[in-house]
């Protein structure tokens, strides 16, 4: 569906069901340069099981208008604005990669508004490789190719997509090329590189939190994910074997099962 936030049009997938304000809200926040479509194997389930779902296209990404936001802090405030814009007082947040930085910061800034936090491939900081950052800021498609290489584990490189007939790496690559690379991936990578408040923000979080990490994640390794999770009181950790950073696609079923148990327990549908 489309709606306005700060005078810009926002697109969010509702998981194939009409948006219903009477149901608890789950917001999904994508990673650098990507779009709402990365969440298709999680969002539809919740939309068909008692939740209202918004898988956002961040400003300047996918089908959303406006320009890409330049800092994680701005993105965190924008997610909070989304909750207001759709008429809710609270929501559950799910983030992947850069989306973890955004949702951690958003939760720290809005302790009463966010009810559960689910982090996939998260870390307290995501410093960027300087050459990768430069490639993305210079609109070089090689930045996308490198990201797809590093984002998929050894198993993911072979394929084996949970949806028959889909090929991981080419699909991810196409998602990252939906808009101009320097305006999406370039801006996002710089925002990740600049963000330094992740560990401090994590210490302030007191809500139920889940971290899903993957053994073959090169972008946000398990030890970095654990470092962040250990700062959040009572946080749960689930580690997936033989899987890379794109766990929400590489091991979509496993991720959904863990997420389903966590959210339905801590933020039950009506």
């Amino acid at each position: 569906m489309k709606f306005q936030v700060n005078n810009n049009e926002v697109y969010a997938s509702t998981g194939g069901r009409p948006f219903d304000k009477n149901k608890p809200l789950i917001i999904f926040v994508h990673g650098s340069g990507l779009t709402h479509m990365t969440w298709v194997l999680q969002t539809r389930y919740f939309a068909f099981h008692g939740y209202s779902v918004l898988a956002l296209d961040m400003p300047g990404h996918g089908l959303s208008g406006g320009e890409s936001l330049k800092s994680i802090e701005d993105m965190a405030d924008w997610v909070s604005d989304v909750i207001d814009a759709v008429g809710y007082k609270e929501a559950s947040l799910v983030g992947h990669s850069q989306g973890c930085l955004v949702t951690v910061e958003c939760t720290a800034r809005n302790p009463d508004k966010i009810k559960t936090l689910s982090l996939m491939g998260g870390a307290g900081a995501i410093p960027m490789n300087p050459e990768l950052l430069s490639l993305a800021e210079n609109n070089d498609p090689k930045a996308v190719e490198l990201m797809m290489d590093w984002a998929h584990g050894p198993a993911g490189h072979f394929g084996g997509h949970p949806v028959p007939g889909l090929y991981h790496i080419n699909t991810g690559s196409m998602l990252a090329k939906t808009r101009t690379i320097k305006n999406t991936l370039g801006v996002d990578f710089r925002a990740c590189d600049n963000y330094k408040n992740g560990f401090e923000a994590a210490k302030q979080i007191k809500i139920p939190t889940l971290s899903i990490l993957a053994t073959d994640d090169k972008m946000c390794p398990v030890k970095e994910g654990k470092k962040l999770a250990n700062l959040i009181e009572g946080s749960q950790i689930d580690i997936i074997d033989n899987c890379g950073h794109m766990m929400l696609l590489e091991e979509a079923d496993r991720v959904l099962n863990v997420l389903k148990k966590f959210i339905t327990t801590n933020y039950p549908a009506n």
Binding site: G16, V40, F48, A155, G159, H161, P164, L166, T171, D253
Partner: protein, 442 residues
């Protein structure tokens, strides 16, 4: 190459993908070879799991008409080789074309189609699709501007064979793709003759690529199979031409395929609707057979092209041959375009005219022994046919002429046998072809 070590992507390359893409042994009992899942259906964990699969909430298999694990390996493998986002395998190349058209079009729609096609494909567009209310304007493949002129308000796509069957005319794919995209419609290309080893149409602007996998991709001539590959770049939401892709679609529980699945929307719709309703599914055994062929695709294609170029040279110098059409011939009208689009080789299909016309052609066909006379191409074995009396025999005289066919034409699919043995066999054929003329001249 980057001058900094480690900064080039390490994603697998063509020959590796040919052997490995789409398959993870550790999820299949460690089986090194792809298992043949010879089953119709798949257990649900519980009713919630069943509902989730039907609603496309989860990935997985329900019923082998819709998807099958062995077939899915083939689909991913071909998608990876073509540089596509997704693929859908079908029971034959023709069913792949039909399913692609039915996924794209509705009654009242129109397509612009290259006139140089396999005879069965011509009949599909000319005679069968009008029964579904889908009309076609045919354009000669070299008439690039003609494709633009033929586009109407209700045109939903352009279709053609990259190298026309059987005359070897080449579509200017990059320019025709631009024409299609300027009109907000996709370009669909049948690239059976090339395989992704010779050309990846998606890199040249094609949005949907179709193969008869029966041919060079499998190579062994044992199994029928087809496939639709999606490029993932086409923006279905740029206009209102494709409401069944972009609007909540009654045909699939109010789903908007473009919004939900973006770069894989076409494949998702072709599977969820097309396979559900038409059902031209590929058997797991045939999918496995095709996978065996794809493992050696690049090795075979190199040999096919090497032999083809030697046969071109041989035929050009032969007294019994009136003309030779192959993109490798310098005076072929599309030689330069072929060099750009087909840098790894110009393919192994040769058309040539035999002196003495139809009678000589028939004598030649009846007297070659190594070359097989049959209605297929792209086998590892050398194949010959006389199109006017076989593959294109259901066309009337005017349609034959429009399709660029002559009665003296022999279609040759060069195999990977020893080149001297193929030439020796052709000598026997040519010798026999000269005899009727000698008799009639006396």
């Amino acid at each position: 190459m980057s001058d900094k070590k480690g900064m080039d992507p390490k994603t697998y390359k063509f020959d590796t993908l040919s052997l490995h893409a789409g398959y993870q042994p550790h999820k299949n009992a460690g089986s090194r070879q792809v298992p043949i899942y010879q089953t119709t259906s798949y257990l649900f964990d519980d009713v919630d799991h069943a509902a989730a699969l039907f609603n496309l909430e989860r990935g997985g298999h329900i019923y082998s008409r819709i998807s099958n694990p062995t077939v899915a390996v083939l689909e991913e493998r071909v998608a990876s080789l073509e540089g596509g986002t997704a693929a859908l395998a079908t029971s034959s190349g023709m069913s792949a074309i039909f399913l692609a058209v039915m996924t794209l079009c509705e009654a009242g729609d129109h397509l612009v189609v290259s006139s140089q096609l396999y005879g069965g494909t011509v009949n599909l567009f000319r005679l069968t699709l009008p029964k579904f209310g889908i009309k076609t304007t045919f354009v000669k493949p070299r008439d690039t501007e003609g494709f633009k002129k033929a586009i109407q308000k209700n045109t939903k796509g352009i279709f053609g064979e990259l190298v026309g069957n059987p005359g070897n005319e080449i579509m200017n794919m990059p320019e025709i793709a631009k024409i299609a995209h300027d009109a907000g419609i996709p370009l669909m290309v049948d690239a059976t003759y090339q395989t992704p080893y010779l050309c990846k149409p998606i890199e040249h602007g094609a949005d949907i690529v179709i193969h008869s996998l029966t041919k060079w991709m499998a190579g062994h001539g044992s199994s029928m199979a087809g496939i639709i590959v999606e490029g993932g770049k086409f923006d279905w939401m740029q206009n209102d031409k494709f409401p069944t892709m972009t609007q909540p679609y009654e045909g699939y529980h109010g789903l908007s395929f473009a919004e939900e699945f973006g770069p894989t929307a076409f494949t998702m719709k072709a599977r969820a609707e097309g396979m559900r309703d038409f059902g031209p599914c590929l058997s797991p055994q045939n999918a496995w057979n095709v996978l065996q062929g794809i493992e050696t695709l690049s090795v075979r294609m190199k040999k096919h092209c090497e032999n083809a170029e030697k046969m071109v040279e041989y035929l050009l110098g032969h007294d019994s041959v009136a003309w030779v059409s192959h993109p490798s011939v310098p005076d072929h009208p599309d030689h330069d375009l072929a060099s750009k689009l087909l840098p790894n080789g110009k393919g192994s299909m040769i058309a040539f005219g035999i002196k003495g016309g139809k009678a000589a052609g028939e004598a030649f066909i009846n007297n070659v022994k190594l070359a097989s006379h049959l209605a297929n191409v792209g086998d590892t074995r050398t194949l010959v046919i006389h199109p006017a009396s076989a593959t294109h025999s259901q066309m009337d005289e005017a349609t034959l002429k429009f399709a660029g066919l002559s009665h003296d034409m022999i279609r040759l699919s060069v195999g990977i046998e020893d080149i001297d043995d193929i030439k020796n066999d052709f000598e026997n054929g040519f010798r026999a072809a000269r005899k009727p003329r000698l008799v009639s001249n006396q």
